[in-house]
Symmetry: C2
């Protein structure tokens, strides 16, 4: 027998959890103001990048990201099968390039670290990089090829997930949640109170506006601002797409990435800014992204600036998610995915299904329990 | 007795002509798809800058711009009186600054040229410039103060002109014009034909889509693309407006300007691009404007990017307007204002009123006759 479950949050984590729960026989409601358009997921680039996101000192997180990436082929196939929609899942791979000698040295350090973790990454000369990506600037100092870092079109993904939810009988309550009470009971912005067997908290930084989480054992989530640009390809200027694979770069020590979509457009991101909940699109951040993107791919200049947007990534104090039963009866957390929400959505959703079924989760997930 | 006059074009020239003609007793119709939101006028910055726009070898044009600027105080007062709307007419003055030594040398050449034309402009040291504009970068090489170059809020101006037209009994036909026939008769996009005593052609680059202008004697108008940015001032960050006067700059040989509005926002412009009728907002142009603006006013980084837009300035082969009777009976031209449409609108409208009344115009205007 399935349970009655309320999922709080309409981003990629909330929708993925809702869909997987509905596929497993539960009666699911999603509470979110604009499901499929919510939060950081909508603004994301959709990189599935455990290797190029590997950070010194975060090997446990990297292991989680690798595990998460392993879930993607089956997840994408199931979602496309359920909806008939192409979600832009692309396994062409990623190249990370260095602009100056210092950037090259940093990449070599990173490469050595990737190898100590057993990750697949190959040192490439500048001309080898340009063989892989002809649009690269001739001024680069070479880079790293990472065949295993892929991408998905985050907006196509969100649309497909929302449709899969509807097809699976998930009910949408288009409202924000203002409080969590014992029961568990959700209090909505319009005053309604919804009771359920279980609640899954998956609202990203939206969680900060919900009262009554004090007894959950969850750490506070800090919003980490990111700017992103969406650049379109005017047909007349770019009959051939500028890029065929994801390009990342170190540009005088700053990170930038360019993620090409199948329609020839390119997503350029992303700043990482500790500025609280500020969501204004700042001229300085737009300048920084354009500056760094065109330094490694000069053809960016001819693309059309279609959108400049910001999102708030939900980060815990240790930048690692919290997935598991909270200290409050019937309340599961799936929060704090920071830069990796898209990548970790399939793994997180599968874990939440196991948690609801009171089945054991893998040690990697167990380590993320909030309590 | 007034005439029946059709004005083609709903930008600043068309609306200014329509309003002045209606004030002089004529029955006026404006034909334009979206009057008050049309064309280059909507995208403009609104500088009234005969001195800082002075170009070597264009002394006749500069004389016209000086004459045009002289019409502004009375025009703004009349328009504000007629509508009760503030059009943001601001006479604080302009400072042009130099980034590097080569820019400083160029500004000194320009200053000498301005003085040969008898224009008021004062050499200022870097610290004198910062006294005038505290937000300037400390890295500048000084500049020129031009007290006589002013500004108007172009969008407030267009709104006020449209309202003044309505108040003056002007009829709006929300349609584009596809052809001019003898009569004169205008053929509209929906097939309607409108006859009148006189037609005033004031459609900027929109004129290029009108058939039947062959016999007018008008030169072809080329579209000169310009990118512009509108930057907002988030209250929390900028309790005091960043700028209190217009700042222009030479940045490694490139021109940029920053025009502050009364609400704390700043208009940054403008590229000058010979790219035909292309209106896409290009990443490279946005980068160039941001790069140059923040080089002279670093606080730009903290402003919000509210809008990035392009417009097509209507330019004749000699970059000088054509104002006068054409070779076609009953047809007056007021076209080709290029970078100076806002500045020249009052002078042009007054000239068109004189032309319709068959009164003599000043030699400066007479020199602009199309035939």
């Amino acid at each position: 027998m399935g349970s009655r479950i309320h999922v709080v949050g309409g981003g990629v984590i909330g929708l993925a959890c809702a869909w997987e729960l509905s596929r497993n026989g539960h009666g699911v409601t999603v509470c979110a103001p604009t499901p499929g358009r919510d939060g950081a997921s909508w603004v994301a680039a959709g990189m599935l990048a455990p290797v190029t996101e590997a950070q010194f000192g975060e090997s446990a997180l990297t292991a989680l990201l690798v595990e998460g990436a392993g879930r993607w082929p089956a997840f994408a196939a199931a979602l496309e099968g359920a909806t008939g929609h192409d979600v832009g899942y692309d396994t062409t791979g990623t190249v990370t390039v260095a602009l100056d000698a210092s950037d090259r040295a940093s990449l070599d350090d990173l490469l050595a670290y990737q190898h100590t973790l057993g990750l697949e990454a190959h040192r490439r000369s500048a001309s080898e990089c340009r063989d892989l990506v002809p649009a690269l600037s001739p001024a680069l100092r070479g880079g790293i090829e990472v065949p295993g870092d892929h991408q998905v079109d985050n907006r196509a993904l969100l649309g497909a997930l929302a449709e899969a939810c509807r097809g699976g009988g998930v009910t949408f309550v288009h409202s924000s949640v203002t409080a969590l009470e014992a029961g568990p009971v959700l209090v909505l912005a319009d005053g309604r109170r919804l009771g359920a067997d279980h609640v899954v908290l998956a609202a990203g930084t939206g969680l900060r506006a919900i009262d009554g989480l004090g007894g959950t054992g969850l750490p506070s989530l800090r919003p980490v601002k990111g700017h992103i640009l969406r650049l379109g390809a005017p047909d007349a200027v770019t009959p051939v797409p500028l890029l065929a694979r994801t390009v990342r770069g170190l540009v005088h020590g700053r990170s930038v990435y360019l993620v090409p979509r199948r329609d020839g457009s390119v997503v350029v991101g992303a700043t990482v800014e500790e500025r609280g909940a500020d969501t204004a699109v700042r001229a300085g951040a737009v300048h920084e992204l354009l500056c760094d993107a065109r330094a490694i791919v000069p053809g960016v200049d001819e693309l059309e600036l279609v959108e400049a947007a910001t999102g708030l990534r939900p980060a815990t104090p240790d930048n690692t998610p919290r997935i598991g039963w909270t200290a409050r009866d019937g309340v599961i957390a799936a929060v704090g995915h920071y830069r990796n929400g898209i990548l970790l959505a399939p793994l997180t959703a599968a874990a939440v299904v196991d948690l609801v079924g009171r089945r054991p989760v893998t040690p990697l997930i167990e380590a993320l329990a909030p309590t």
